[in-house]
């Protein structure tokens, strides 16, 4: 069930962290994609990860969701070490994610796509399911109802039956968010949820993210390039550059940070 946290104050460091990334290093061959990065995420926060291209943002998300495993360092979720878990185990802990390049099941309808988000919530009894009988039927209907709530929430009723692959990009991103929400996650990881969107779509997406946060108290970690969006919706900003964390704090402080400005704009040689 979802905890309805009332939202910690911006940059809040109160209570134990929901997620702790401790001194994590990831290497691909000789390249250090992340070196000694530590980030704490607290319950109810919206944390934005920013940084120039190749800074290691997506790598950090992949480590958290179990797609990569760190060379050294630890990852704790709800106080328990889960450094070496596989992606599907991570999903089972209540961490849902979206991908930078939209990873939807293109041949399946929007509804079926979102239903897959509930796979972990379904209890299996093959025989019952096979005949679609009694409890299995009731279970399917319950999950259907939960999915319909997500569909209403994200305002995608009209495209329910459309194969996901046929939707325009902006809507695909929204369906991907819907699938992640259907899992009722404790922690939601969004990899560039607004990439490639126009201003209007970005505003919609920002509103959805804030609504999710307000309504369900979901803790959110997102990667985003659009600084105005980041400043608007995040409680805290973590800045990566060349695989290192160079800043971590409330948006209004981070934006004035000299190191961050240097990383983005380059250092003047004089």
């Amino acid at each position: 069930m979802m905890a309805t946290a009332l939202g910690t104050p911006a940059g809040g460091a109160s209570g134990p962290a929901l997620l702790s990334v401790e001194d994590v290093t990831v290497r691909f061959g000789a390249v250090a994609a992340l070196s000694g990065v530590s980030v704490d995420v607290h319950r109810g926060e919206i944390v934005a990860i920013i940084g120039p291209n190749g800074a290691g943002k997506t790598t950090l998300l992949n480590v958290i969701s179990g797609f990569y495993h760190p060379r050294s360092g630890r990852i704790l979720f709800q106080g328990r070490d889960r450094t070496h878990l596989k992606p599907f185990d991570v999903a089972a802990l209540g961490i849902a994610r979206t991908f930078q390049n939209v990873a939807l099941f293109k041949g399946m309808s929007v509804l079926d796509n979102i239903m897959t988000g509930r796979l972990l919530k379904m209890r299996g009894s093959f025989l019952l399911e096979a005949v679609y009988w009694g409890p299995a039927r009731r279970q399917e209907l319950e999950h259907r109802a939960a999915v319909e709530r997500v569909i209403d929430f994200l305002e995608i009723q009209a495209i329910r039956k459309t194969p996901a692959g046929r939707l325009p990009y902006g809507l695909q991103k929204r369906v991907e968010l819907a699938r992640a929400l259907a899992a009722e996650p404790h922690l939601l990881l969004l990899d560039e949820p607004m990439a490639g969107m126009n201003v209007e779509e970005k505003e919609d997406m920002s509103r959805f993210i804030l609504d999710v946060h307000d309504e369900f108290g979901t803790t959110i970690v997102l990667i985003e390039h659009d600084m105005s969006v980041v400043m608007d919706i995040s409680d805290r900003v973590v800045v990566l550059d060349y695989g290192r964390k160079i800043a971590d704090g409330p948006p209004e402080i981070v934006r004035k940070d000299q190191v961050v400005m240097d990383a983005y704009l380059g250092v003047a040689h004089d």
Partner: protein, 312 residues
């Protein structure tokens, strides 16, 4: 000219109407053969649905299953025991394939996985022969290859059993895919590995399940075909007949595999019996492929396949 048109378009139908009992026999023969093709095609569909990979080794899996069964029976095991052991062997094979072939190739292009199944094909072929020998073996599962009469129509017991088995198997599988959460998970895995992992679907388990089921289907197909025509190397070539069935029915559709098999089975039998004499016979040998070719030109996704539309 008129003579020819008559021979092609009128005479065969007149024959059919003139001797309905014989027509029914031909149709039954066609349906039985068609269901046997469907059985083999099913194995392909299962794996294709769950991994988007065309399993080149499916035909050899049929041969391997039949060889194992016959080999165990020759060693003196009674039919139920031999069958049970064969099931265990095929499931063990599924685990081995997942561990050795599929797991190291996660997230690779489909063509790479396809190449891996070609390797698997040769391995199983060699391994089967090494373990059980290369002679033609007779498989006797206790169903006599004899006929009985129903209202003057001859029905072969073996063909009837095969047809009923195939029908039952297909019903179970269709329900499995359409109705269960595993079915949905399978479709998800076939579509996108990464996304499937991220919603909590364990790829490993799914693959083992699918290859095991494909192995079980291979046993059924191997038993039926083996009982009909002996267990020998050419059994692996029935995979070639399954290919047009898949093209007709669509690679991703369980019902498609059945309907495709029936169309081809019935079509080639009718063609052979009624139109064969016109061209000196052998229609049965090419009918399926010509039909598949026509389908590729007109409806490449097959009767029930999903149309893939890529937006760019």
């Amino acid at each position: 000219m008129i003579e020819l048109l008559r021979a092609v378009f009128v005479a065969p139908f007149a024959d059919m109407v003139g001797n309905p009992t014989f027509l029914v026999e031909v149709l039954i023969g066609g349906i039985a053969a068609g269901l046997m093709y469907s059985l083999v095609a099913l194995g392909f569909v299962l794996i294709f649905k769950a991994s988007g990979v065309f399993n080149f080794a499916q035909g050899v899996m049929v041969l391997f299953a039949a060889l194992t069964l016959v080999g165990l029976m020759e060693k003196g095991a009674p039919v139920p025991v031999a069958l049970g052991l064969t099931v265990i062997v095929m499931i063990a094979l599924a685990f081995a394939i997942e561990r050795v072939v599929l797991r190291p190739l996660v997230n690779q292009e489909h063509i790479i996985l396809f190449m891996a199944t070609i390797g698997l094909n040769f391995f199983l072929e060699g391994f089967g022969e090494m373990a059980w020998g290369a002679n033609v073996k007779k498989l006797d599962v206790g169903i006599p290859d004899t006929s009985f009469l129903v209202r003057g129509v001859q029905i072969n017991r073996l063909e009837l059993t095969a047809a009923l088995t195939a029908a039952a198997l297909v019903t179970v599988l269709a329900v499995f895919f359409q109705r269960t959460k595993i079915g949905r998970a399978l479709r998800a895995v076939a579509d996108d590995h990464e996304a499937a992992l991220s919603v909590g679907i364990p790829l490993k388990t799914i693959w083992v399940v699918v290859w095991s089921v494909a192995g079980l289907v291979a046993i059924v197909a191997g038993v039926m075909w083996g009982a009909k025509s002996g267990v020998q190397f050419s059994l692996s070539l029935i995979a070639l007949k399954a290919l047009p069935v898949l093209i007709l029915g669509g690679f991703t559709s369980v019902p498609g595999a059945i309907v495709g098999g029936l169309i081809i089975g019935v079509g080639e039998k009718l063609g052979e019996v009624y139109w064969g004499p016109l061209v000196g016979g052998a229609i049965e040998n090419w009918f399926a492929y010509v039909l598949a070719l026509a389908f590729l030109l007109i409806r490449p996704q097959g009767l029930f396949g999903e149309k893939i539309i890529e937006r760019v």
